[in-house]
């Protein structure tokens, strides 16, 4: 039950009501818009739900990987997305040093992509907030950093890379979250992993990329991986076995992005 009474008091009003609405028509469903900054949730939102469902030992999932050097802008961008997800985990674990390490890696990857000083400034703020143990500010700063990176890519007419940031962040987020649930399965925690529309949206976005990006070996492999996990993340009630399967697939996809998978 939403604690609307508190909110009502805060706003000095009781103008709340229970809603009654007619179902949407097929035309209305078809007309629904998608705005990435609203339609696709942040890692912070994902992990907040995980927190409520299972109170995970986040410290066990903190990992800051220095990826092997790569000249591929696609790989660098995907990794940058994964780092944002790692940042959220470090914040949930309240591990200031790991947050700073993630900030350093984000900075290094942003430099490789020639992103602007504004992104560099965000990375600096991450360090400052980590020093102050200001976890709420850090959550906001990570989201702002991700948005700043996308805005900068847009300004550089490199907007094909924007999709890859979201893709990397989702893959790593799902890898971590499925690992959390696989480690201590509960049906409630497994419910959080149900995200078919997000995966469908990411596949749509990859399919809309220019041909040379879409056919990039790494991007194509990640798209295939998304298509393979779609049935699993469409399940309303994932079993423990299905969660383990999902985690194995997401971990493999993450390794492909990092370039540490055998054969990648």
């Amino acid at each position: 039950m939403l604690r609307i009474a508190t909110a009502a008091i805060l706003m000095g009003t009781t103008a709340f009501s229970l809603a009654s609405e007619k179902p949407m028509t097929k035309q209305e469903i078809a007309s629904a818009e998608k705005v990435e900054a609203i339609t696709i949730p942040t890692g912070g939102e994902f992990f907040a739900a995980m927190d409520k469902a299972s109170n995970p030992p986040w410290g066990q999932f903190v990992k800051v990987v220095s990826a092997p050097p790569s000249d591929s802008r696609e790989r660098i961008t995907l990794i940058l997305g994964t780092l944002v997800a790692d940042g959220y985990v470090a914040v949930e674990a309240q591990d200031g040093q790991s947050v700073k390490n993630v900030g350093k890696e984000i900075l290094a990857h942003a430099k490789k992509l020639n992103l602007s000083q504004s992104v560099m400034g965000r990375a600096g703020s991450i360090n400052d907030f980590a020093d102050a143990n200001d976890w709420n500010a850090l959550r906001e700063e990570l989201e702002a950093t991700q948005n700043e990176v996308k805005l900068d890519m847009n300004d550089q007419s490199d907007d094909r890379l924007i999709t890859l940031v979201s893709l990397g962040a989702w893959v790593r987020g799902a890898d971590i979250a499925s690992g959390v649930v696989a480690g201590a399965y509960t049906p409630e925690a497994a419910k959080v992993l149900r995200q078919p529309a997000i995966v469908e949206y990411l596949i749509e976005r990859v399919d809309a990329l220019p041909e040379n990006t879409r056919s990039d070996k790494l991007v194509a492999a990640v798209r295939t991986g998304l298509q393979e996990v779609l049935p699993l993340v469409s399940e309303e009630n994932l079993s423990a076995g299905q969660v383990a399967d999902l985690h194995a697939r997401m971990a493999a996809l993450y390794a492909i992005i990092l370039g540490t998978a055998s054969g990648s």
């Binding site: 909110a7 469903i29 609203i38």
Partner: protein, 143 residues
């Protein structure tokens, strides 16, 4: 203090978005929606750093696809210009049926709150109930 923060957020967003120059109505709707969201943030909700903007007119509701997580609590907050005398926000499940949600109305400002039991796709409906065509701004908060 809060007003200063909101103003900072508004102008930072408008400055970085590099969209066509914002009208006073655009700034006003963002200011109003941030003010409403701020009330929720005082109650532990986090404000998502993203906006949905456009125009609404009577008889032509707008719909937005969102993805929610079971267990989280959400408030979708919207504001329109004064010419929109009354707006409403509502929430529907992936198959278009009304979700279990609660509403808040205050003229050109409204919100819908929900705590979904199933993770996945939902639709937010924004409707002008009374008044003239107006720009709007919608954002959401969660905890």
């Amino acid at each position: 203090m809060k007003i200063t923060l909101f103003a900072g957020l508004i102008f930072a967003t408008l400055a970085t978005a590099q969209e066509p120059a914002a009208t006073p109505d655009d700034v006003g709707t963002r200011s109003k929606v941030l003010e409403l969201a701020g009330a929720f943030s005082n109650d532990g909700y986090r404000i998502r750093d993203g906006f949905w903007t456009g125009d609404i007119e009577k008889g032509r509701p707008r719909f937005l696809e969102v993805n929610l997580f079971a267990g989280n609590e959400y408030w979708f907050c919207a504001a329109a210009a004064q010419s929109a005398r009354k707006i409403a926000v509502s929430l529907f499940s992936a198959d278009g049926k009304p979700a279990d949600f609660q509403t808040y109305h205050d003229g050109p400002v409204a919100a819908a709150g929900a705590e979904p039991e199933i993770s996945g796709k939902y639709f937010v409906k924004l409707e002008l109930l009374e008044g003239d065509k107006s720009p709007f701004c919608l954002l959401y908060t969660y905890k």
